[in-house]
């Protein structure tokens, strides 16, 4: 593993949030007196990310994922804690720091803000000058990214005439033009079709492989995390509840397996439910949820009572493991 790119220790963030009563009278009262509450978004998290590593940063809505990324990008000030990104204190927003990072937010991009009506290339030229790239650096990076993202036919088209998926590719290419050493991706595949999601994941993997950059990715699509992340941090209510590779995380979060059984005839639900927890039943096909220790017992019981054509024991995927975890955590 390479050098530490992100160092976070005991990071806390408390927001003040204005509360408003509903209705017209509530709005009128709010003119004179406004209630404020404090919300703790991060409760003292610590972690590191190294060069060439892709960290999956996951958790339910409101867990504190985007807040963390915004602090790492220098957009928000933390309430307490120590943070170093590329050796800099992010919220000082020094030029060399800002040139080393890139923060991609779903549905939001600088090019859409400024160059919506202009050809894509104009947006790239703006990025070139913002980041002080020489003509040579720009041409080299542009050539590489145009190939990687298949943009050659889009460069002269106005941004507003592109599809959502094409714009996402353009914004991601724009976010990589200055070859950032840290890539912060917040829900990068949100709203994209399956093909575009897969392509985008491929681009990110390829970029990290080629450049050795570090990457932190948040996503509600667990497929993104399974495909991309070397390591995953699971955040809930502002603190970490699990850490490991996607496979380790599944094992830690859920000891449950799925037993898929193909019977030789249709079976009644009541007959199966007497033996275990049935998750799915479709004619002669059934899926049981079973703990690792009970699987053998259940298989023997099924063989003793039913003619069985085939069976498989499956580990749950990350999505299911997370669902089980959060259901059990309440």
């Amino acid at each position: 593993m390479g050098e530490i790119v992100v160092y976070v220790k005991d990071l806390r963030k408390v927001y003040r949030r204005a509360l408003g009563a509903a209705g017209l009278s509530g709005a009128a009262k709010g003119l004179f007196k406004r209630q404020v509450e404090e919300v703790t978004a991060l409760k003292g998290v610590s972690f590191e990310v190294r060069e060439g590593e892709i960290l999956g940063y996951i958790g339910p809505n409101g867990a504190g994922k985007t807040t963390t990324l915004k602090i790492l990008a220098g957009v928000l000030f933390p309430t307490a804690g120590e943070v170093r990104v590329l050796g800099y204190v992010p919220w000082r927003r020094q030029r060399a720091f800002l040139k080393g990072i890139s923060f991609v937010m779903s549905g939001r991009g600088l090019l859409e803000e400024i160059t919506w009506d202009l050809p894509v290339l104009d947006g790239f030229l703006l990025i070139k000058d913002l980041y002080g790239l020489s003509d040579r650096e720009f041409q080299s990076a542009l050539g590489e990214l145009v190939d990687l993202f298949e943009l050659s036919e889009l460069l002269k088209a106005p941004l507003r005439q592109l599809s959502h998926g094409q714009r996402a590719r353009v914004e991601l290419a724009a976010a990589l033009l200055w070859r950032p050493r840290l890539l912060l991706l917040d829900e990068p595949t949100l709203g994209l079709d399956l093909m575009s999601q897969a392509a985008l994941r491929g681009f990110v993997r390829e970029y990290v492989k080629r450049t050795g950059a570090a990457c932190i990715v948040t996503s509600h699509y667990t497929r993104d995390i399974e495909d991309l992340a070397d390591r995953v941090l699971l955040l809930d209510h502002g603190e970490f509840v699990a850490e490991g590779s996607p496979q380790e995380l599944v094992r830690k979060l859920s000891g449950m397996r799925r037993l898929r059984v193909a019977f030789e005839r249709e079976v009644a639900a009541e007959e199966l439910e007497a033996l275990g927890e049935v998750v799915e039943l479709d004619g002669a096909q059934a899926v049981f949820r079973v703990s690792a220790g009970q699987a053998k017992e259940l298989v023997q019981a099924l063989f003793a009572r039913f003619p069985i054509h085939d069976f498989t024991l499956e580990e749950p995927d990350l999505e299911e493991a997370l669902r089980i975890y959060f259901e059990e955590a309440g």
């Binding site: 985007t66 915004k70 990008a73 040139k99 923060f103 070139k128 002080g132």
Partner: protein, 264 residues
């Protein structure tokens, strides 16, 4: 300071404005109609040999044509987008860039206005042509570039003022109302409605910096300010500008600590 990012931002915004050429031509009405409208009013007031505060009909007509060009082409409210960006979190997109937010927005502001400035010149020339019997050219040619120079500094001053007002969104969540109200007041205080020196309490209006975006450059054009007074006025203008710039920097720093980066 690297200029390239700002020059590119200026160029990009000029391109964006040119995409909406209909708006640029529609803007001509701002420069054309008010001087024509007030002409009839002031002809009734100043007809014959009458004068008010040293303004006869020709001076008054010329004042309105020149001032209207300056004031209509000055963005006293900077850009209400700035306040909205703070509120809805789009400011984040700018904070990530290795360049000054004020600088980029100033460049974009100027870039966006350049086509209007050019179109406005055509409009002002047209109205001057229509009212050619009354329109005065300065007796000393240096007065035109000098007036434009003062006005351009006034544009920077007005932008910075509007930018500061927009930054109030860090505290008020929505500053658009304040900004637009202050915009209307600034047009008045720049002499856009009535020459400031014929107003009651003129000492107060002339003490404020807004006059540099309209009234004062027009006074230079009309020959109502002598060359000897210009260094002192320039000093005053730069003093105001420096004050606004320091204030802008301070409010920006304080505001960023409160920024919550909504959304995402």
């Amino acid at each position: 300071m690297r200029l390239r990012p700002y020059l590119r931002a200026l160029q990009v915004q000029t391109q964006v404005t040119l995409r909406y050429r209909g708006n640029v031509f529609a803007f001509l009405s701002y420069v054309l109609i008010p001087p024509l409208a007030v002409f009839f009013l002031w002809r009734a007031v100043l007809g014959g040999e009458r004068a008010l505060g040293g303004y006869d009909l020709s001076t008054m007509v010329t004042y309105y044509i020149v001032t209207q060009y300056f004031v209509a082409n000055t963005a006293f409210s900077a850009w209400t987008d700035i306040g909205e960006e703070i509120r809805d979190g789009r400011l984040t997109l700018w904070l990530l860039r290795p360049a000054s937010h004020y600088g980029l927005y100033f460049a974009r502001n100027i870039g966006g206005w350049i086509p209007y400035w050019i179109a406005g010149l055509l409009g002002a020339a047209a109205v001057a042509g229509i009212l050619h019997r009354y329109f005065l050219l300065p007796q000393e040619p240096w007065r035109i570039p000098m007036a434009v120079g003062f006005w351009l500094l006034g544009v920077v001053l007005a932008f910075t003022w509007g930018y500061i007002l927009n930054l109030l969104s860090f505290w008020t969540e929505r500053s658009t109302g304040i900004v637009l109200m202050a915009d209307a007041a600034a047009v008045f205080l720049a002499g856009g409605f009535v020459p400031l020196d014929i107003l009651p309490l003129k000492e107060i209006w002339l003490l404020l910096p807004f006059r540099f975006a309209g009234w004062f450059p027009t006074q230079i054009y009309l020959g109502r300010v002598g060359f000897a007074e210009l260094p002192r006025e320039l000093g005053l203008l730069l003093g105001w500008l420096l004050t606004f710039l320091v204030l802008q920097k301070l409010i920006w720093r304080l505001g960023l600590r409160r920024y919550q980066g909504a959304g995402g």
